[in-house]
């Protein structure tokens, strides 16, 4: 605040929001700085028109508010404009240059202090010009900035004018206080008012609002004139009667928010100064001390209004949020219950009513025990409460009973709600109906159990076949042979052939049992994941079958073979069956050639066992891999009809496929895929640990070969091999 010769000045830039000054062109920056300087200077001249302290400081000093608003709106570079405006005004047009510069620096420094504190502690101006002073905290930050900035500038300015001889050092105290109070109230009243006016550009008030604002300002002005002027012909003790003006500030605060309170406060301050300067009212001769205390009073009244407005704003915002949240809770697809710490229900949402059958009035004040089904264990509830009372969130599943007695499952999350001091005051439960999921789970579990049971029975049957069923077989065959050994001479050749049929039947049944055992053993053995040298396995099978291969006069060519991920024994079993089939179904008129080879197919290796045998008719290719499926009468070709089914089961359990290709005349190729040991497909085998009774049925033997390119490469390789 201050006076006389001028000392600072500055002003707000007008309007747009400023987000980042550095993004604006320098010409615009210069224009804004110039505008700031001009507005600061105008506000300073206005301030200097009023009362002064010792002729150098004005107790009403609006430019500080102008400066703060300019920096907040247009960025800290506007401090240059503040500097210029203050320097121009200080000490009049002919003042000494040094002191003009010092005055400018003081004003710019104060503006930067205020800008820095507000930006850091209260936040920046919003993108649509929203004032940062919209919360009680922010208003208190503004107060702090005003006090700190005003005090600093007051001390600086008073020392400066004393040093240059404008006032005596004995007047230092009065000048400093007057200067500080003027600056502080200028910042406190004017800055929020200007920011509110700026925000109004983005969100223009309606006609009614403008009208009410005009009425308010008129009334406040009239009230101030009564209190501070002599308009009623009576000079009032304005210090006391100033209280009568508080309602105008409250009016402004509640109806127009922080900007309203700030405008009314600014208006009151100016009216008081105007009347005093015009030689009217209490303050015309109350001296500068009296005027300074008036400014403090108006500042505090305004502060009250600002806080009220901020509180009102916060309350409205909080209420809006509460309405929003409560609408979310009301509309929620999950049941929501709120209880006090005793577990008594304070609130339930409509979904709760829908789920439980209880209306809100029926359950409020009761505890959720009314929902207990009696099927939960006591421990469950105890763990729930101990979790909640320890302040943690409990999650779990609850089986509840509806009003009509039926049961439903819920997945619940129950959390404690704390007050500002950390005490638990409520519990909130959000619950989702999972009855359907539970029922599906239990059906699934029953199905799995049923499958496991039937699977176990199958395995039991297989072991029966392997052991117990073989004993009677052996008795049949053994005693039939014994009959021939002991009584051979007494039997004729026909009897011998009958005995032979018995023995052959038993032999065939034994083979069936053995293959069935192999078939069921596939599920018991977990799929192998380790690398197995396919070439070594083929060589082993070839050696084991060398007699059959030689008897058939077959040539067996084996191409380069990779490592695959498979159980070694099972892989040998597959190759045994495939090579065995090639031998068995050889063409009577051409020498049998069998080739084994492999090509890469993505993550997999595609292995083939090809022959030039009798082939398989197209119609039978698909059904080839079904258990007990034989394409030939037993007289023509021996076999159990299990070998290919076993092979398919083994391959599929290792993540591969198996299929047959044949033109029905010139031979057959059986192809199957197995994972490369280094591929992700092999990793996945780790997860295939459960027996998969259904799998074989679903995927049976597709007979399409994979992509054409692969198939072509297979053919090339075959040619190389054979």
């Amino acid at each position: 605040m201050v006076p006389v010769p001028p000392q600072h000045a500055r002003e707000p830039a007008g309007g747009e929001r400023v987000t980042d000054a550095s993004h604006q062109s320098w010409t615009r920056q210069v224009a804004l700085i110039g505008a700031t300087a001009v507005l600061y200077a105008l506000a300073a001249w206005a301030g200097l028109a009023f009362v002064t302290v010792e002729g150098v400081a004005a107790p009403v000093w609006p430019p500080t508010g102008v400066a703060l608003a300019a920096l907040l709106l247009k960025g800290p570079r506007m401090a240059v404009g503040v500097f210029l405006g203050a320097a121009v005004v200080a000490f009049g047009p002919g003042g000494p240059l040094l002191f003009k510069v010092l005055s400018g620096l003081g004003a710019a420094g104060e503006a930067l202090i205020g800008w820095w504190m507000v930006s850091r502690l209260a936040g920046p101006v919003g993108p649509r010009g929203e004032s940062p002073f919209s919360s009680m905290n922010a208003v208190l930050v503004l107060l702090l900035a005003a006090i700190v900035g005003g005090a600093a500038h007051g001390l600086y300015g008073a020392a400066m004018v004393a040093e240059m001889g404008q006032v005596t050092w004995t007047a230092f105290r009065d000048v400093a206080i007057g200067w500080a109070v003027g600056d502080a109230t200028g910042m406190l009243l004017v800055a929020p008012a200007l920011l509110a006016l700026n925000a109004a550009r983005h969100d223009p008030p309606g006609v009614a609002q403008v009208g009410e604002g005009a009425v308010l300002l008129l009334c406040a002005g009239a009230g101030a004139a009564v209190v501070y002027g002599d308009v009623v012909g009576v000079r009032l003790d304005s210090h006391a009667v100033s209280w009568a003006l508080l309602p105008f500030v409250i009016w402004g605060a509640l109806r127009f928010g922080i900007g309203g309170a700030a405008l009314v406060g600014s208006g009151l301050s100016l009216v008081a100064a105007f009347h005093a300067a015009a030689g009217a009212g209490y303050f015309q001769d109350a001296g500068t001390d009296g005027f300074v205390s008036l400014q403090v009073f108006i500042g505090m009244v305004t502060l009250t209004g600002l806080l009220l407005a901020a509180g009102d704003h916060e309350r409205n915002a909080a209420q809006a949020e509460v309405r929003q949240l409560s609408s979310a809770v009301e509309q929620s697809a999950a049941s929501v219950m709120i209880t006090d710490t005793q577990g008594r229900l304070l609130y339930v949402n409509p979904k709760f009513t829908e789920a439980s059958g209880y209306s809100a009035p029926e359950v409020i004040g009761k505890t959720p025990r009314i929902l207990r089904s009696g099927h939960m264990r006591r421990d469950d509830y105890e763990s729930l409460w101990s979790t909640l009372l320890a302040g943690r969130v409990w999650r779990g599943e609850l089986l509840n009973r509806r009003k009509d007695g039926s049961l439903w499952w819920e997945h619940a999350a129950i959390a404690p709600v704390r007050d500002g001091r950390g005490r638990i005051i409520r519990f909130v439960a959000v619950k989702e109906d999972i009855t359907e999921r539970k029922e599906a789970e239990s059906r699934l579990r029953a199905t799995v159990e049923e499958l496991q049971r039937s699977n176990a029975e199958l395995k039991h049957f297989a072991s029966l076949a392997a052991h117990d069923l073989q004993e009677p077989l052996r008795a049949m065959a053994g005693f039939a042979q014994l009959l021939r050994r002991r009584y051979g001479e007494k039997l004729d050749s026909e009897a011998d052939s009958y005995i032979e049929f018995v023995v052959q039947g038993a032999e065939h049944m034994k083979a069936l049992f053995r293959d069935l055992m192999d078939y069921s053993a596939v599920d018991v053995t977990p799929p192998g994941r380790d690398p197995v040298d396919l070439g070594a396995v083929v060589a082993q099978v070839r050696d084991a079958m060398s007699r059959e291969v030689a008897e058939a006069g077959a040539s067996l060519s084996i191409g380069p073979l990779p490592e695959v991920a498979c159980d070694r024994r099972q892989l040998a079993l597959v190759l045994h069956h495939l090579i065995g089939n090639a031998v068995k179904f050889r063409h009577p008129e051409r020498p049998l050639r069998i080739s084994v080879g492999a090509v890469r197919a993505g993550d997999l290796w595609q292995v083939h066992v090809s022959d030039n045998g009798i082939g398989i008719a197209q119609a039978h290719l698909k059904s080839l891999f079904v258990l007990f499926r034989r394409l030939h009468t037993r007289g023509a070709y021996e076999g159990t009809g299990i070998g290919l089914a076993i092979s398919r089961r083994i391959v599929e359990r290792h993540g591969g496929r198996i299929w047959a290709e044949s033109d029905g005349e010139t031979g057959t190729a059986i192809r199957f895929t197995l994972p490369d040991p280094a591929s992700p497909a092999a990793e996945r085998l780790a997860m295939v640990s459960l027996p998969s009774p259904g799998a074989a049925v679903v995927s049976s033997s597709s007979s399409q070969p994979p992509a054409g390119a692969d198939a072509a490469r297979v053919r090339v390789l075959e040619e190389d091999v054979s």
Partner: protein, 154 residues
């Protein structure tokens, strides 16, 4: 071996087999193999242990030179019997040959791990059975030395 047969009476084989038909076939196979053995037959592991330990009603039982043990039997099965014999200091020197229908690799491994002296699967074909029994006799009657302590119990 031949010494013990010659000096101390016939070579005694204990057949532990629950199936009478199988027992009979084995007996006939011994006959056809032409080996002079005394074949004793019990029907399960409990009886076998009683026989070996001369518990009633086998107080007069001879000491066998060889046990032929079926695996799948009611009451005490062959696996448990094998472990009991091999776990008994007085009996563990007695050669035990597992003679079973099972071709399961697990049974084979388990039996050898329990110190079975041999594992023989029962063939379906009578001729093969006779051949196997002959081979057994060749080995155990003629091929290897008798366990010196064994006949001491008589």
């Amino acid at each position: 071996m031949s010494a013990s047969v010659g000096d101390e009476g016939p070579f005694v084989v204990l057949l532990v087999e629950d199936n009478p038909a199988d027992a009979r076939l084995t007996q006939e196979a011994f006959a056809d193999a032409g080996r002079p053995v005394s074949l004793e037959w019990v029907r399960d592991g409990d009886d076998a242990m009683a026989f070996l330990r001369r518990h009633p009603p086998y107080t007069e039982a001879p000491r066998p030179h060889l046990v032929l043990l079926d695996l799948n039997m009611p009451r005490k099965d062959g696996r448990a019997t094998l472990m009991e014999i091999k776990g008994d200091a007085a009996l563990k020197a007695l050669p035990v040959v597992v003679l079973t229908t099972s071709e399961s690799r697990m049974d084979v491994e388990e039996s050898y791990r329990a110190h079975a002296n041999a594992y023989v699967t029962k063939p379906l074909d009578m001729d093969e059975l006779v051949a196997k029994i002959s081979a057994l006799c060749d080995f155990w009657l003629d091929g290897v030395a008798a366990v010196p302590g064994k006949p001491a119990g008589r």
